[in-house]
Structures are given as structure tokens and as C-alpha cells.
Amino acid sequence: MTTTPPQETLSGARPRKRDARRRRKLRLGANISAIVFSVIWIFPVYWMINTAFKPRPEVMTPTPIFFPKHPTLSNFIDAFTQSNFLLNLRNSVIVVAGAVVLSIVLGLLASAALSRFRFRGRRTIMVTILAVQMLPGTALLIPTFLVFNSLNLLGTYIGLILAYVAVVLPFSIWVMRGFFIAIPYEIEEAAMMDGAGNWRILWSILFPLVIPGVIATSIFAFIAAWNDYLVAYTFMKDQTMYTLPVWLASFSNPITGTDFGGQMAGSVLFSLPVVVFFLLIQRKLVAGIAAGAVKG
């Protein structure tokens, strides 16, 4: 450290030097805080992965083992072979795919109408779509449960798909509408000049342009349906019809003791596609989540 000048001076050099030093200190402090923050914030994820790779005797120890001494895949193999994992994975895939495809196809058409056309009632529809997304989960769950109970749809793929569409479709319309709005009107006008009709403009110009948006929206829709626990837990009471989140939670057993190694391996497998998708669509994430894709 150099000695600091005793008197305050207003002329150039010294304050600037002091300023630079202050800034360097600030920057160092910021980077150190960032390291501390990162270690704390990543720790739960690290602990999930760490536990997943531990052999059974290293999981349940009074003094935690911070790095597996004998890393093993046995927890993952157990997950695949012993329980209903593959069956429940298949259920998840069927239900999520059904909900995403239905929501995206219907949502694409509706969002085109709500972004490229002006008509009476449009505002009301948009407000309804927004408001519906903010409903508490149980508000939709109760009446849906009763209707599906009388239609014998509880515990079926179709029932769960429809319950997910109720959440995912309004949100998909809202998100895709944003992508449509981003397309400049001039493109459409040029096509109109060339005598193209509404349907032709939609099909040959707007839909191709909005494909990246459709992909991003599908990912959001996938995450929303894949992560659902509440609806599946309430509707699917037969173990063979569980989806993955319900399967995962059913590991917990307060009586015989939970197999934490297996549960963490399952958590890793279940989280993996979502984490990959999050990293893929990083840039669009903030906007998409604001629209309600993944709720806290």
C-alpha cells in the first residue's frame, strides 16, 4: 500500500488514483462475495448429486461425507430396476407430450388471432387468459376432480392431459403471442400486396417465422407439465399410473426410513431434462418464466 496524501486535493491525478484503488477493492470484494454466494447456492444441488453417487453405507453417516469415497451407480441402477421407474417415466412422457402437443397446436392458432388481428372482445380474451394463470392450483383442482370423477377420467391419461392443458394452454397462447408480435407488419403487408389471403399469409409466412418461438414455448410447456406434482398426486392413485414427481415423492417413507441414495438418484434423473432445457433456452428464460411457465 502506498501512503495516502494528507490533504484533499481537487486537481486530477491523486483522487483518480485513489478512485482506481477504491474501485479495485470494490471489485475484489464483489468477486469474493460472488464466490461465497455461489458455494452456498449450489450446495443443495451438489449434495443431491453427491448423495446419488454414494454407496449405501456412505449415505447414512453421522458425519457427512463430502466426496463419495467409492462412487457408484448402484442408486441409479436400483431406481431403474427395482421400482416402477420406467413405467412411471412412460406415463410422464405420454401425459406431458399429449398436453404439450395439444396446447401448442391450439395455442399457435389462437395466438395468431390475438396478435395479428384486431377485433372486438380481444382485450377481454387476453385479460381472461392472464387472470386464469394466476388462479391458485386448488381452485381448478376441486371442480376438475369432481367432473372427472363422474366421467371416470380420474387416473387416466386423458384426464391428466386435460388438466395440464387447462394450465399450459392459456400460458402458451400468451407466450407465443409475444413471438408473433415481434414479426414486423411490413412482411405481411408485402404479401398482401401480392394478393395473398389471410390463410396463405399465416401458413406460408407467419408460422414459419414463429417456429423458434414455438420451440421455446414447447420447452416452457414441457417444464410446466413435467414438474407438476399436485394434480398427478390427486388424480393418479394407482402406483402404475404415477408420473415421475409422484414416484419420486413416494420414496419418502417415515416408517421404514427413506432410501435417500435412491431418492437423490431419482431426483437427479428427474431434474436432468429440465436443467438441460434451462441451459438451452437461458436467454429467453427470464421473459418466459415471467409469463408463468414455472411457478415458484
Binding site: W47, T61, I129, T138, A139, V147, P212, S252, V275, Q282
Partner: protein, 329 residues
């Protein structure tokens, strides 16, 4: 085939739109569409019918059910009686309901305050980091955000497991609180709240931090430099300069957090099941227990209606804000 779509124009403009009012309007076609154009009607009909069937009708039905005594037996027989405002009268005179409401309000407030405060700090931190470090923090945030809340709730259960939980062990090593290794967090009202609070804040911070960071980078750096030249402290610069630009985003993020935190279900259900003795039974948990554990479905519906109405205040505010921020509905 694709014109790159600027990040700000992606749907939930909500957040971004606040910064750039006007830009996101769909430009009106000069001549406007011709009258009697039924194209939008055809485009809307399929989605409209589905939304009507799976969302609008159920909501109307929910209101109807809240006026009945629908219960476990009704599920098999289909018989129930209309009791008018009976369910509402009984929940409003039930002390447990008011406690649940109080718990929900306090807990949601604590969650929003915690996640917004930490989110603001992290967003500001991000602007001060070397690029490599910023990348590390961003990836860490995305990981914490991406883990599905069912998985993270189970991870929490494991972190705080009596006897074997690493959190218990680490806290014991600090020698600040005595021996915590055998503590059962889920069985103690205060500790259960603390653990669930940590879990939800842990997952909420990434969205808030990254959103605020995005709008903080939009602030022209001259403002900060000018303030620094005037000798303002970093703390003063943040609260006098940055906050001015962050306000609209901050407001939207806060409203969204209020709505989400008011509705939290999974994390509480999976960590404490609303226990011990309903200590963590917020309105969401209480509704679920009433409707799907006790199968007092009529009463559960009434609680859900009340919750929805309470939330509508925030939802209406959120929507009005979007409209004001230039969102072209």
C-alpha cells in the same frame, strides 16, 4: 428461416415492457383489417372451446360447489344439498381459517421480502463482477432455478434430516447453536417455517436476480459515473440512481412473487405436510386437506373461492400494470 427474436420481445413482456413502453405494440396495419373477416374467429374457436371446457366451466362449477355440502358420499352417490352461504358462514366463524389466513399472509410476506432483498443484492453484485465470475454465478443461479420443486423439496428433506442431515451437521460445527444433529426441522413450527422459507427463497432468487440484472444493465453508465464523481457512496448510488430505473421491473417482480408465494403448495406439502399440528398449513394446504383429505369438498371449494378473491386484488393490479406499462392487450 428465422429473424432472431430480441429477448425483450419474448412473451411475458411484462417485465421487459416496463422499461421500454411503446416498443412492443403490434403496429396497427394502416388500413386495418376488412370488416366481416372471420379468420380470427376460426383461429380462436378450438382453443376457446378447450379453455371454456377445462378452465371457465370448472371455475363456475367451483363457485356452485361452494354453495353445497358436497362430501365423500356425494362422490359415489352424486347426491348433495345446496346450503347457500352455509360453507362461507362456517369458515368465517372458524378460528382455524383466520389463523391459516394470518399464517399465509405472514409467510408470503416473509418469502417476498427475503427473495426480493437477496435478488436485488445478487443483481447488483452481478454488475460488479469480472466476466468469468459473472458466468459462474449465472450458471449457479440457473441450476438452483431449474431443479423442479418436487426434487428440491426432497433434497431439503434430506439436507435437514435428523441424525444424518448435512445442514444439521454444518450448523453444529459452527458451535453457535449447540448440538443440532438430532433436530427434526419438520416437527418444530418455527424450524419448519425456516427450512421451507430457505427452500422457496433459494429457488425464487434466480428469477428475481436475473430479471433485475437484465434491467440494471439497461441503465446508462453515465449516471453511475456522474454519481461516483460527486462522491456518492456505492450504497447511495444504488438507492438513489439504480433504484429509479429498476422500479417498474421491481414492481412487477414483486407482484408476481406475491401471487406465487401466496399459492405455494408443493414445498410445504412435501417438507412438512402442513404440520406439526397445522402450524405450516397455509390457505393452499388447508384447502387441499379440507377437500382431498377430509373430502369436505363443498367447504374446500368455499376456501378456494375466498383465496381466489383475495388473490384477485393482486392479479388485477398485475394486469393493470401490464396495460399501463404499454402492453398491448
Amino acid at each position: 428461416m428465422s429473424s432472431p427474436i430480441p429477448a425483450t420481445s419474448v412473451a411475458g413482456e411484462g417485465v421487459a415492457a416496463a422499461d421500454t413502453p411503446g416498443q412492443l405494440h403490434a403496429p396497427r396495419s394502416p388500413q386495418g383489417r376488412k370488416k366481416k373477416d372471420f379468420t380470427p374467429l376460426w383461429l380462436l374457436t378450438p382453443a376457446g372451446l378447450v379453455i371454456l371446457a377445462v378452465t371457465i366451466v370448472p371455475i363456475i362449477l367451483l363457485i356452485f360447489i361452494s354453495f353445497t355440502d358436497y362430501n365423500r358420499r356425494s362422490l359415489f352417490t352424486g347426491e348433495f344439498a345446496v346450503v347457500g352461504l352455509g360453507q362461507y358462514a362456517s369458515i368465517f366463524t372458524d378460528v382455524a381459517f383466520w389463523w391459516s389466513l394470518v399464517r399465509t399472509v405472514f409467510f408470503a410476506t416473509a418469502l417476498v421480502a427475503g427473495s426480493i432483498a437477496i435478488g436485488m443484492a445478487v443483481a447488483d453484485l452481478l454488475t460488479r463482477l469480472a466476466p468469468a465470475m459473472r458466468y459462474v454465478v449465472t450458471v449457479v443461479l440457473i441450476f438452483a432455478w431449474a431443479v423442479p420443486n418436487v426434487a428440491s423439496s426432497l433434497v431439503w428433506d434430506w439436507l435437514f434430516q435428523p441424525g444424518f442431515g448435512v445442514a444439521n451437521w454444518l450448523l453444529t460445527q459452527t458451535h453457535l447453536f449447540g448440538d443440532l444433529t438430532q433436530v427434526n426441522w419438520a416437527q418444530d413450527p418455527v424450524l419448519a417455517y425456516l427450512a421451507i422459507w430457505l427452500l422457496i427463497v433459494w429457488q425464487a432468487v434466480p428469477f428475481i436476480a436475473l430479471t433485475l440484472y437484465a434491467s440494471q444493465t439497461q441503465v446508462p453508465s453515465e449516471y453511475f459515473e456522474a454519481a461516483r464523481l460527486d462522491g456518492a457512496s456505492e450504497w447511495g448510488i444504488y438507492w438513489k440512481v439504480a433504484i429509479h430505473f429498476l422500479k417498474p421491473t421491481l414492481l412487477l417482480v414483486t407482484i408476481l412473487s406475491v401471487i406465487w408465494d401466496f399459492n405455494v403448495f408443493n414445498q410445504i406439502w412435501l417438507v412438512s405436510q402442513g404440520g406439526p399440528n397445522d402450524a405450516t398449513a397455509t390457505l393452499g394446504i388447508w384447502t387441499y386437506k379440507t377437500a382431498f383429505v377430509g373430502f369436505h369438498i363443498g367447504e374446500g371449494a368455499a376456501i378456494a373461492v375466498v383465496t381466489t378473491v383475495l388473490l384477485m386484488i393482486f392479479t388485477a393490479y398485475y394486469i393493470r400494470n401490464l396495460v399501463r406499462a404499454g402492453e398491448d392487450l
